[in-house]
């Protein structure tokens, strides 16, 4: 018995030491600790009393145990203050690009979403119908904030396939990966904290980080190589980084895979410095090789990783069902979820759980991967044959993004606008940078069902690039 409570106490001491539990924060309830650590309520009580004796925590009547230290309650403001500078936002031009993202009249070489023709739309539709027939009331009622238990079980099973143990009780179902990352950032960081991102990286991550008033340091992700681990280690040594938001599996826009050794080193470096790792595992299932690479969590011994993912790129974008999990952070994620959107919509959750329970999802996934891999090669071929000599293009190994470096310094924004004028959507590279880099890069998406129209559009953008090059 005494060994058991000491193990629980030591785990909590570590969390306080590493700042996972901060001064003034409430410790998990005794029941929850008991459940998490698989000990009796009495053992949990003993552990808390021990920490109280050590002066690390304090009990507050009818409320629970708290880490001792600062933390006044939500304070009354004093008096009128002078206005402050606004939270800095990069890439404000993004809002104009958003207009583009939502235009339905474009040939969407810009949209990183697979065509419905490549997804099991009929199976999902059948699952929706079955759900409404069998579970109509549950589909229309509020779901639990944490998410529908059957769906959480399916998510945990999917991760078990790639050797990752996830407790369904640590999973929080979200409205897609973007909400998952946003909740994770809000759970882990405070305004002014430093966050490490890749460069280039998905503009949505840059925006989410900027919106929270966070500061950024950037580590390169290179086509064909992935995250530069040595640089990451150097950055962690120089800056007090609170969290890293990384996409080791098929970074968007680069399409690279960071190998297992790199992942292991990243997890170790972050653990050593108490940096919380937030992994965007959105594209993990879309490996062209057919072998799903593990998420960072696979190498995590200390519970320092929050894994975020979604069914958006593999089943149904419009149902907006994703997830976040990270054992230490369940309470925080859940609270953030509750008070930003209460719960994810019930019908989409139940429909996806039904689909996963009734279908072998690996079948449509195999087809999707094969088509994406073929598309990437087709895009590369067209670029090689029809774009100006000197154009460089990434060789993605998963996902659906291609990253092009334009020949002879052609301006990507100009190319973006010229293509737009011809009804073709692309994305200029600087969206993927926090420092206005990549002015000569372009991102294309290869998620569409290949046909002559796409080939024509790709050739047309190449011709525009050539014209811009000559006009210089």
């Amino acid at each position: 018995m005494s060994l058991l409570y000491e193990r629980v106490a030591e785990s909590l001491r570590g969390q306080i030491r590493r700042g996972v539990l901060r001064a003034g924060e409430r410790l998990p309830s005794l029941r929850r600790v008991g459940r998490q650590q698989q000990v009796s309520l009495a053992t949990a009580v003993e552990a808390y009393v021990q920490l109280e004796r050590e002066g690390l925590v304090e009990a507050r009547p009818r409320s629970g145990y708290y880490v001792r230290g600062a933390a006044p309650d939500l304070p009354e403001p004093a008096l009128r203050r002078t206005p402050r500078a606004p939270c800095a936002m990069r890439n404000p031009a993004l809002l104009d690009v958003l207009d583009v993202l939502t235009r339905s009249d474009l040939l969407p070489l810009h949209a990183a979403t697979p065509s419905l023709e490549l997804l099991p739309a009929a199976g999902i539709a059948a699952a929706v119908a079955r759900t409404m027939r069998r579970h109509r009331d549950a589909a229309l009622r509020y779901a639990m904030p944490q998410g529908q238990p059957g769906l959480r079980l399916q998510i945990a099973r999917r991760y078990a396939h790639c050797g990752v143990d996830v407790d369904p009780d640590e999973i929080v179902v979200t409205a897609g990966a973007m909400e998952a990352i946003s909740l994770a950032l809000r759970s882990v960081t405070r305004s002014g904290d430093v966050v490490l991102l890749e460069t280039p990286t998905y503009y949505g991550l840059l925006q989410a980080v900027a919106a929270l008033g966070l500061r950024v340091v950037e580590v390169p992700n290179r086509p064909g190589a992935g995250i530069d681990v040595a640089q990451l280690e150097g950055l962690l040594a120089r800056h007090e980084v609170r969290a890293a938001v990384l996409v080791p599996n098929f970074n968007n826009p680069v399409g690279s895979l960071t190998g297992d050794a790199g992942k292991q080193a990243i997890v170790a470096a972050c653990a050593a410095r108490c940096v919380v790792l937030i992994e965007d595992d959105l594209y993990g299932e879309l490996a062209y090789s057919g072998t799903r690479p593990p998420p960072l969590r696979r190498f995590d011994r200390q519970g320092g990783v929050i894994t975020c993912g979604s069914f958006s790129k593999m089943l149904a974008p419009g149902l907006r069902v994703g997830w976040a999990f990270g054992s230490r952070w369940t309470d925080e994620l859940l609270r953030a979820k509750c008070f930003s959107s209460v719960a994810t919509a019930s019908l989409p959750q139940l429909a996806i759980a039904d689909y996963l329970a009734h279908h072998d999802v690996d079948r449509p996934l195999r087809r999707l991967r094969r088509e994406l891999a073929a598309n990437a090669q087709r895009y590369r071929d067209v670029v090689a044959r029809y774009w100006p000599a000197g154009t460089r293009v990434s060789e993605p190994v998963g996902g659906m993004a291609l990253w092009l470096e334009l020949a002879d310094g052609v301006d990507a924004q100009a190319l973006f606008e010229a293509a737009l004028a011809q009804g073709i959507g692309t994305l200029p590279g600087h969206l993927f940078s926090n420092r206005d880099e990549y002015r000569h890069h372009l991102r294309l998406s290869c998620g569409l069902l290949w046909d002559a129209k796409i080939e024509q559009a790709l050739r047309a953008v190449g011709a525009l690039a050539d014209r811009l090059r000559k006009e210089k």
Copy 2:
């Protein structure tokens, strides 16, 4: 022509002066300004050039116009800093209450959601089926971040019924009212800003505000009377309040209605001090009188109100479809939406739009209002007859909350726990306070279909209150 551009310029000057547009922020695109103010692109250009001449704004190449002033870009962090105190959070005990909120084994006198029996569930189910039949692909694809146009039109029409002009293009569809308010707060405030709330008020608002690191001042909302406007004016004079989050239509938990004169005074007081008003209009359609009271927007001449609402309490809680609108803030709301959840799920949006297009929603609403009003009276009767003498209970005029003050200082937390032990869910009053008030208050919800089991449960909680009173 010259008068037109001057009108546009003056509107923007005012926004800069009032801090709606802050130093370093990007002005709306020329196209957007043209659309908003119904002038040609040339006139918008002329207005911007004029403001540039005056030194108020500056053009940045390929990016747009910015308010001149401070605002460095998302900065590189310098060096390791000392840790800061965490963002203060009140009501941490809430997480245990959340466990309660999601337990399905309780008799839910705590859940402020109507029984499905009181909602048009069959009609919604038919709308889901129709949507999947007619618009399957759109239901499974990403929706526009701003929301499905047909749904936005229906929302605008609904507001037109109560005399409020809303442009469908200013509406942002959200995952319920909670996301709407969270987006509004994130669009308008920065960490450290002061926000005015009612007391008592919905604990979700307190949590959302705390999570953003905002500070709080509180204005009383009284059963039968509504928001204390004189106190509100005094608070605005004493504190530099950035935004007010108010529930004038059937405040939860008090159930009061703030009258039109009060609303008008609130809008005027906030406009005079450039305080952004965020209205939670979640219960607006649930007036027991049958007359839907106007939202604050009705009295807004300056575009200083953001209206948030949802179909959760009137059609289908589990579909998670709500909205936020406020003409000035469309860009900010849209950006916050994009980078926190990309878009609201498509199928629920389309299904609700379909329902509204094919049904007279006022019919089920009439029934719902009638049942809620009858329930409130039934609850009051049971409390009057069976609870300890001296128990006071609110007389709501809309919504589904009852607010009880327990007799002889009975402790609400103790009553909450005793009821829980008997399988009955209630909510202790202190959840609805930022200052640990309402220790002797209890919130009950009257959204369930009335039956003998509910009456028994209500009487049982009354008996427990009596026992606690005697034990004191």
